[in-house]
Amino acid sequence: MAGAALRRLMAEYKQLVTNPPEGIVAGPISEENFFEWEALITGPEGTCFEGGIFPAKLIFPFDYPLSPPKMQFTCDMFHPNVYPDGRVCISILHAPGDDPMGYETSAERWSPVQSVEKILLSVVSILAEPNDESGANVDAAKMWRENREEFNRISEKIVRKSLGL
């Protein structure tokens, strides 16, 4: 069964290399272990995260794609849907059974049809448009709603830091 996970991850990796989505690079951290990936995500144009390169770690379960992977930014990230420790909170990363927040329908949750590429694209889209209903980082959500300038200033700082400038 885990062999199936490995084959699927290999197929996804191949697809991400041969036909990469714009501004995204992802692959296993080490060829020895295909269940831990690192992904680099470019902040979407026209948003406060524009131009930043945000590294994140993806950890896949052995029964992938039946269960979703876990995703965690390894850089600083100040965003309503990202926990202060970097874990990403989006509905497609939630297993179909559990619903920690009680606000999503099962249609929004994980399904084996999802893929690394789709996850990363969703993350790019929440970078552009945070979903402030599900506040993983309450401070960020509040600031996003009430003090956008300050939020932009902080994200600018994060972008610069992510580029090592």
Binding site: M1, A2, G3, A4, A5, L6, R7, R8, M10, A11, E12, Y13, K14, V17, T18, N19, P20, E22, G23, V25, G27, P28, S30, E31, E32, N33, F34, F35, E38, L40, T42, E45, G51, G52, I53, F62, D63, P65, L66, S67, A95, P96, G97, T105, S106, A107, S111, P112, V113, V159, R160, L163, G164, L165
Partner: protein
Amino acid sequence: MPLGILNRLPIPTLTTYSVISAALFVSLIYNAKHAVENPDWKSEFLTSDKNSSDIIGDEEEEHLIDLETINLPESIRDILFYMIQDNFSRWVFVNAVTCAILLLGRMIQIIVFGDLRTIEIHIFREKLCNYFLYKCIFMFGVIKVQTTEDVIFLLGWFGILGFLQIFVQFSKDRLEYMATVSSRDTFWDRCKIVTLLLCILSIASYMIYFCLTNGDNLGYNIFAFMIAECLSITLRVPHIVIKYVIDPFEAKFIRNQNQRFRERNVFANFIISKMEISLTYYISLGLDLADLCLELLHYLHMVLWSNALFSVASFALCMHVRYLTTEIQRKIKKHRNYIWILNHMEKEYPMASEKELNENSDNCAICWEKMEVARKLPCRHLFHATCLQLWLEQDTSCPTCRYVLNMNGSSIRRSTTSRQTTRGVIRIGRAAIPLNRQHFFHFDGTAFFPSSRYVSWLPSFSVQVMSTMGAPELSDSQLETMARQVQQIFPHYPINLLIDNLRQTRSVSVTSNNILEGLLPFEEPNIIEESSQMNRTISDVTEASTSTAAYSPTQENENISESYNSNVNIKECEFSSIPAEREITLKNRKEQLFLNAKQKYLERRLVN
């Protein structure tokens, strides 16, 4: 719990330990030799023994006889005899043997497994502590050994058993690791582990043989205690071999067979896919359950035998028994669920026909592999039977379109009304393919009130649901508004084409997805040429940077990838089959992404 303490205790490393034991052993031999030189040491010994203890009895004499029969020079025999007689030297001797076993184990580990991973070391420690704890409980809490000889005998027995068990555990972990994580070719490593497992198996069978032959002397209970664990090892080894060695090979074999059979007929495919599911599953389940039951019996036996229900020992044993029973229950429950889903799939989701498979050129959406045989859900999506089975064990919707499958099987069997309902749902599912069914609502009233008089109005209720679901063709005006919505996203698609597609899909989002996935063939030579020219000019301007961001997101996927190829090294987009090369490619791509982003950022800064 014992781990925490153990981690803090200063355990000597294997080298220091073996050095100390070797030194002790050498000094012991020297001492023994010295003592043996005294002409009447033997008589002294025998008399002192007889005076001091009457407990040393049969076994001691057996040892004596053993030594006599072995053909050895007299001096060595004497030394051995001395060592066995003297209490202190006996322990030193045991210690030396333990050390030798440890060294042997270390050697096997280095030869077969190479370096251990951290997790393996962790598991090893945990298992060892557990094993030690339970054996102590067994020795002093359950059978309450009295004499040193018994202790030594049991130590030896458990030592060997523990040795075997730990290596079984190692092999299992390593094989699992190979099957899952490591992508390297591991044929030789596998061979080594399998040989080791076979050795373990033969030792364990010899131990069983030993138990069987000496069963009369040991007494019924001790015999049962001793044989249980050997049996457990002999069960576990074939299980591991089947699960991690034969299974992958068999899967590969079956896949090859599948391709060969494909031309023949659907029926052969069907049989093979069924075999694939069931054979290894049942063997594995059976061995698993047998192993657990055996252990359960073993521990229950211990609890009963220990005769003291309120001691610490029996408490620990009861905890373990409880754990085992829940484990067995869990396994059985899982198995029943598995069988249920299997039957349900058989009944409700037919095998896809050859024609459907040909029409659907996609791979299985779950494992991304080609489908030679597949099962069809009511929403017409195809999946491998095994993949679908695994998914349905945890969720009851179609992975692709989230169509809620009616998995409430008890109700299907109970009343005809609900059976009609499910049939109706299936029919609708076929009529309206990828309809957005997020709001689909199925009222399964009969499951809750099987014999209630309210059942009579239930069918009409489900008909109502059906009629909303199976709504007839959308009106032209509706289609047009939807098409305009799509056209806002994809302005260069002609509205007729969009309406056609919408008539099939009935959903804006599904059509958009179709366009994005390139399923909607649409030639627009002028626009493509223009845009690619534009790309080229852009890529000339900013040489290294990926200019993909510069053009509108409305272009087709192909177009994007084409332009990506044009300004990024083609070699970089190839997927190498050599792991090291892939690693380098990935690293390069990451670096390039970084550099481009940095450059862009600085450029933008300058502009502002």
